[in-house]
Amino acid sequence: MIELVSDSRCTGCGICVKVCPTNVFDGAVGEVPVIARQGDCQTCFMCEAYCPADALYVSPLADETEHVDEDALAEAGLLGSWRSRLGWHKGQTRLAAIDTTPFLHRVEPVRLDG
């Protein structure tokens, strides 16, 4: 579930409020959004992918909340890590351009769909 909106990093662009599929955030453009409905978070990581300021952290725990420490997350390189994996930071190569899924069959025991 979403656990962190970093006050220091957030630029108040409002993108997370707009892109969240389950409407978890409240807040006008220019404000740091509030996690208003954490229980509705579906842990899909999309807000993190779209956040241009690396200001969000979604814990991978679907059903329980978790205390997080912003400095420790930053230290561990986790803030912005999903956006970075997708290659969505400026100057990065997009994941789609280096997608190895078409080559998975070379290492798989059998080809499975899904």
Partner: protein, 520 residues
């Protein structure tokens, strides 16, 4: 209270996953004025955006295609139509070339051929948003539709809420495409919690039929604590039951029954130890990248450290049941109403088995394109009629009852009768009868007044849709007294040649079932 924001269009598309995006682009490309409304955000909403999709990308080689069609006919329990499978194979092949032209960076093989059989979800849907907007479509984000509008000519629009402002919106359009996805009952499979069967309920209220609702019993595997339901990489795993029994040793098809049975007895663990070289691990990490995200964040190395797994119910999302289609343009039986993607019955092409994400992802593209084009054509001929539109819904919307829907307790109750492996994986007549009686009893509860506030109103409608969907699923599952495609009944473990037909459902307060022959 703010006044309702009313606008006109030729085509209204409800839903902003791949099917809705393709439908909107297609309708706009045929000259229609199009509005697309999504509950969340076109680009992030739905089962596709957070993960990725395999696709049925087969060159137009007659022999290859015939083989694929024959395989699908058998896999789908002989409920598909060969012509529709060919249409999907043709359509997706052509459409993926377009996706590349629009800017999707498909990787190439050593001969320079683009490999178009997989799309990374975030990239794909971000691109589709751009394409849809460039085509001139008006996009309403955070705008769940609550109800269809109709008159004697058929459907003519819908209304809903803007979740950010609380304002009501209404779009009047002679053609409406339902691309709202399937129903996964808030089971938290990746991206699936927006998929609550809303379009199925709206369609049924307008008089449309449902078909194939018994093909709705799939589960996705994830880490127990996580939402990331990606099955494919588990083929590289060793999977072990609580008592140490090895259930799967990385040597073939995942034994879903054995895993499900073991999960009923205790924790089941997986470890990706078949990826035993740095090269293999690197290859996996840049394929289904989202698979690794939960483990990386928990500080677990999934290649060496076993992690507990669970199975999350996917309902009709990775099934094939939905709104019945009567024509090549994904027309429903109600004039002006079209269905695409997982909201539609996919039986005409897939039969009774979705067989993994590739089929449904390919179907989303094709059914989106067909429905958008047909809706645009229909709007061009039917658009000038004078309309006397009125809302057609009831459940979760308005009520004479003094009592308010307790959405949390109704959702918990419908989940108890759908999510457990005992109900939907190990389907049996005895357990399904109890489940159906329980969800039938929930129907009066959603005929009470909607909960207050924007969230309450939306959740009340979603709750009604989930109760309705559960009733249709269980009714159809009990009516098909055999095992065919993905549907199984413990008491009837074999296919019955006399039941090679489709099951068509209608109704809300009373659900009725009829059979339909599979067209040749």
């Amino acid at each position: 209270m703010t006044a309702r924001n009313v606008r006109d269009a030729d085509v209204l598309v409800l839903g902003g996953g791949p099917a809705g995006a393709w439908a909107a682009w297609s309708a706009a490309s045929h000259g229609a004025r199009v509005v697309l409304a999504d509950k969340g955000y076109l680009g992030s909403s739905g089962a596709t955006a957070p993960g990725g999709s395999n696709l049925l990308y087969l060159p137009p080689d007659a022999e290859l295609r015939e083989r694929a069609v024959a395989k699908r006919m058998a896999g789908g329990g002989e409920l598909s139509e060969a012509r529709w499978i060919h249409r999907v194979l043709d359509g997706v092949y052509e459409s993926l070339a377009l996706v590349e032209r629009w800017g999707y960076p498909f990787v190439r093989d050593e001969h320079g051929e683009p490999l178009r059989n997989h799309l990374q979800g975030p990239e794909y849907m971000r691109l589709m948003r751009r394409v849809v907007r460039r085509a001139g479509v008006t996009v309403l984000d955070q705008s769940p539709a609550l109800e269809l509008l109709a008159d004697r000519h058929g459907v003519g629009g819908a209304w809903g809420l803007d979740r950010l402002t609380g304002a009501e919106w209404e779009v009047r359009a002679p053609a409406v495409v339902l691309a709202t996805g399937g129903c996964a009952f808030l089971s938290k499979g990746l991206g699936c919690n927006v998929l609550t069967g809303d379009g199925l309920l709206m369609a049924a209220e307008a008089g449309a039929e449902l078909s194939g609702m018994e093909f709705s019993n799939s589960y996705g595997t994830s880490a127990r604590y996580s939402t990331v339901t990606r099955n494919r990489l588990l083929s590289m795993a060793t999977i072990t039951a609580a008592d140490g029994t090895v259930l799967y040793a990385g040597d073939g098809v995942l034994p879903r029954d054995a895993i499900a049975r073991a999960l009923l007895d205790g924790p089941v663990h997986a470890v990706l130890d078949r990826a035993d070289t740095a090269e293999k691990r690197a290859l996996l990490r840049t394929s289904h990248a989202v698979f690794f995200l939960p483990y990386d964040r928990r500080g677990i190395d999934p290649f060496t450290q076993p992690f507990p797994i669970t199975m999350r119910f996917e309902g009709t999302v990775r099934g094939t049941g939905g709104i019945r289609l009567v024509g090549d343009g994904c027309e429903t039986s109600v004039p002006g109403l079209y269905a695409a993607g997982d909201a539609a019955s996919r039986e005409r092409s897939h039969g009774g088995q979705s067989g993994g994400g590739a089929y449904n992802a390919s179907w989303a593209i094709c059914s989106g394109r067909w429905s958008g084009a047909a809706a645009a054509r229909y709007a061009a001929t039917a658009g000038s009629r004078a309309r006397r539109l009125a809302p057609v819904g009831a459940a979760g919307l308005r009520s004479g009852s003094p009592d308010t829907i307790d959405t949390a307790s109704v959702v918990a109750a419908v989940q108890r009768e759908t999510l457990p492996l005992e109900v939907s994986h190990f389907r049996s007549v005895t357990r399904l009868r109890r489940a159906l009686a329980a969800v039938d009893d929930l129907w009066p509860a959603v005929l009470q007044r909607p909960a207050p506030g924007v969230r309450g109103r939306v959740r009340s409608r979603e709750t009604a849709a989930m109760v309705a969907t559960a009733r249709w699923m269980h009714t159809a599952s009990l009516a098909r007294t055999e095992t065919r495609g993905m549907h199984r009944l413990a008491e009837h473990p074999a296919p019955d040649p006399a039941q090679r037909h489709r099951l068509v459902l209608t109704g809300l307060d009373r659900v009725s079932v009829r059979t339909e022959e599979v067209p040749a």
